[in-house]
Symmetry: D2
Subunit: 308 residues, 4 copies
């Protein structure tokens, strides 16, 4: 692994991604998200020394959206333990789209996994009363080594005004006894975590924390336990890219999670974290340029977990 070479090639990587932008679309189901610049694109790579290499729009702030599922799952594993979490949600990849109600209703009693909306809502319920948003924001800042992360109030309000489907999911979970707290309160916390304002560098640092087993690679301060990080990376690998997770694992071979805000978080285990911003999404809701960039990086620099 020659990190310098990777750093030097970031413009080429950006080119590989840029070509895909026209084939995607900016998420428009929430007015605030629809305002994003479709052509924005940036990539940041954080290595074990703590240094961050970057190219493109890496300062642009955007909301973390579904990538918050990684943070929420991590906090829940630390706070409530493995057994409590997986009594509520499964660990199986889902062949359906990211907010499917069908499978939730057909499955005997729990959401497929914590990377889809129903699963993350169930995990959020578990956290209520044990930790509040301010504390979760604080952990998020540590995980991403970025103290300027804050709640994007506009996106938060826009999402709360357009979360009919999540309300349906919430009430269905409630009717099945999977969640216990007030549906509205759970959705507020869930949506607040989705509305954290980050940039590509924050995500690269989050990836690095996961690559480094949950510890800050510079200060050696441990933020998450080793066991938590192992579980989170595995679930990112098998479930992180919605119903394109299997193909992504084959082609890229890195634990990765996407958000409809355009973010992409990827982990090169033991080596580095990758953060990408590009709001043009493919049909499965994943950053279209980011997928191409990760395929390029994985192939050129042999980053696939099963690469020889």
């Amino acid at each position: 692994m020659d990190l310098e070479k990777i750093a030097q090639s970031l413009d080429k990587v950006l080119d590989a991604g840029r070509r895909e932008i026209p084939f995607g679309e900016v998420a428009d189901y929430i007015p605030e998200l629809a305002k994003s610049d479709k052509n924005a694109l940036g990539i940041a790579i954080a290595d074990r020394s703590g240094q961050v290499y970057s190219a493109g729009d890496v300062e642009t702030r955007f909301t973390v959206q579904s990538i918050s599922k990684v943070i929420t799952l991590s906090i829940a594993l630390e706070t409530c333990g493995y057994d409590a979490v997986f009594q509520r949600v499964g660990m199986e990849p889902s062949g359906e789209a990211f907010n499917s109600i069908v499978e939730l209703d057909l499955v005997s009693g729990k959401p497929y996994n914590p990377m889809i909306n129903s699963g993350a809502i169930a995990v959020t319920d578990l956290l209520m009363g044990k930790i509040n948003f301010t504390q979760m924001l604080d952990i998020s800042r540590k995980l991403m080594r970025d103290d300027s992360i804050r709640l994007d109030e506009k996106v938060f309000r826009s999402e709360m005004d357009h979360c009919e489907r999540n309300r349906a999911i919430g009430w269905l979970l409630k009717s099945k006894g999977i969640i216990e707290n007030d549906v509205d309160e759970i959705l507020k916390l869930y949506t607040a975590m989705c509305s954290l304002s980050v940039n590509a560098c924050s995500l690269a640092n989050l990836g690095l924390t996961l690559a480094c087993d949950g510890a800050d690679p510079v200060t050696w301060e441990r933020v998450l336990s080793s066991d938590t990080v192992k579980v989170v990376k595995t679930i990112m690998l098998t479930c992180g890219m919605y119903d394109g997770s299997g193909q992504f694992a084959v082609e890229v071979g890195l634990p990765t999670k996407s958000g409809v805000g355009g973010g992409l978080l990827s982990v090169v285990d033991k080596l580095m974290g990758i953060g990408i911003y590009g709001p043009s999404l493919d049909k499965k809701g994943n950053c279209i340029a980011g997928g191409a960039m990760l395929r390029y990086l994985s192939s050129k620099f042999r980053l696939h977990m099963f690469q020889n």
Copy 2:
């Protein structure tokens, strides 16, 4: 058709039903419903002369529950017209249980039919702003020739406190743009109509109104149009008994609708209306004794629509 003979045989009919009671269960998902006397059983038959023959517990009041779907559909057809209603809901029987969310989510854009919860909620939304509960109560009283019908406040409140699944359905309909009004307001009206307190005689009279093409057979006052009644009876026949509707049509051959409160409404077209009360339900949520009684009546007195 020898109505006198039917009237004389009502005790035998009651016996045929009573034998089935032990094999059913009282609905227990709402505390107020669970209080019903499992062994209660009554049948009332109203003929064209307006006379009502009855046996058993025909004075006992109970909530009409899903039988209100027949009334709501009738009012919607009168108020909004055939096209507006069936732009919102389909007319196909549903192979799933009575409050299935799965099919709603899989189907391209509307609930299967107006006899399942999702369909009735969509029809209720259509009525909002055009008619209020007091007016609907008034029509209900006319249809059942029973001025003492009122809202059972206890059941209403108990149901509003336990309608998580209906809330999930409501929000799912909202997320798909099938309903327009406030979910909570729609559910209140929907649940109020389910909470009308009737008895077996009221249902027999409702059946008679439908048998007589929408007119009061004694005063000849028309409550519903001929077209509305034709549609309502057909949908009762194909969809009225949840996922047991097909078998019921074969074995009994009469448009019939059940409610989890224990009510059963049946129509012998052009001849009479039948109302039954028996809160012990079979696995599909239909009055278990009532099914047996209708099979007995249909077979012995040749009431099946395709009987020679």
Copy 3:
């Protein structure tokens, strides 16, 4: 009911149908069927006196296809009895397309109803060893009062060469223990019954036999029992038009069965039989002009079962 008026209006009825022809398509999944003349259209009505009124292409022979399911079910009810048949197949309408494998596999142990392929294949299996094709052909001729009905060898062979999906259904039924005989032998008998060559008049006479409770209305020879006919008409009503059965029951209100060969069989109970030929099919696989013609007839002459 003024039969003479109906007879006189047949050209108008034909016009009502002809307008729909361009919006449909001839079935093309079997080469022999694809050869049909898309613009062909004919209607025949047989009344209780045995007289047949007709207009259009009523002499053209075509294969009966799924309308044979009505005949096979009738024979099975007569030969094996109600209990044996409905131990094998259900009576519930199916929300899916006419040859759905999904529901067969999801349903615990039997096909939804005898009007879909899986159900008819299961019913055919039941008949094997008890009755042979020659005998079934003979009954078919009697039911349709048409001695020239024969097997269309070309269509039969074409279908046997293109019945991969039915083979899949057959083996799935076999794997579930629903059928007992050799899959290939069952499919031969099933396909032979689909390949009977009839015309609109034959179907009108079949409808008349069903309208007359299973007896030839002229000779009074009984071909089917009263109970069998009651069951068959009900199932035609609830399941005869695939996943458009509910809407058809509301709009037309007559037991009807369609075949992809372009045939349509309809029963005006106690009064007459209707046979239609028109190979242009709607998206659900039903004769598109025939649907329009039956809606016209039902509305104009008040033939709906629940018409006042």
Copy 4:
């Protein structure tokens, strides 16, 4: 990684597995498989030096069953290329059981992945005419470094006599145009590959070949290309344990494939191959003792792919 320590602990590993045996069942859907000794249990571990450490019943021969899907996929990737294979089958994990027909029929045009029956049958079709069974047997022997592997004729015949469901799958694939060759011929080749007679040591060697990037670690003879092995290991990880794959990836973190004959093949990338025999299966069809043994090994010797 201290291989010697692992070798010394194999008896303890065996104990950890043996405790689970009573909670499983021997597969009984094929008579020949039902004859297996439920209490048999063995484990073999092959390291890069080519040495094999073992304990328990490692000489017992059994049929490879679904583990052959790994071999067939490997051969198909080598013979036909990545694009041709994944035009036919997907790469997404399947939330359903191992031979589900439902999802095959619901999915637009191809089986979910090559590790379920429908996918493996589609891959086998692709190979027909390009390679014959004798050649595939020869490759299998090389991959497992075991020249005594042969076809178990009894199991082969028993399976061919009880493969109704696979026939249904085959005809469904045929009806959808996914496979091209004669269904019976494809099933013969598919079933022959399932009927290869191996032992735990053969599987350990197969695992080693995959761990060593497709080359024999002693002779350095390359049997599979690096790219093929990367794909195969990823798909084993995400799809190898049926609908328990996600949980297995979290808990064990090793590419693994099970067979209903009781075999388990696991790969510790770059280090070793593990072969297990234990015919007592859990409810998902995976060797129940083997799962426990791999969890024990992964945890105690830190073999999880994302272990720090």
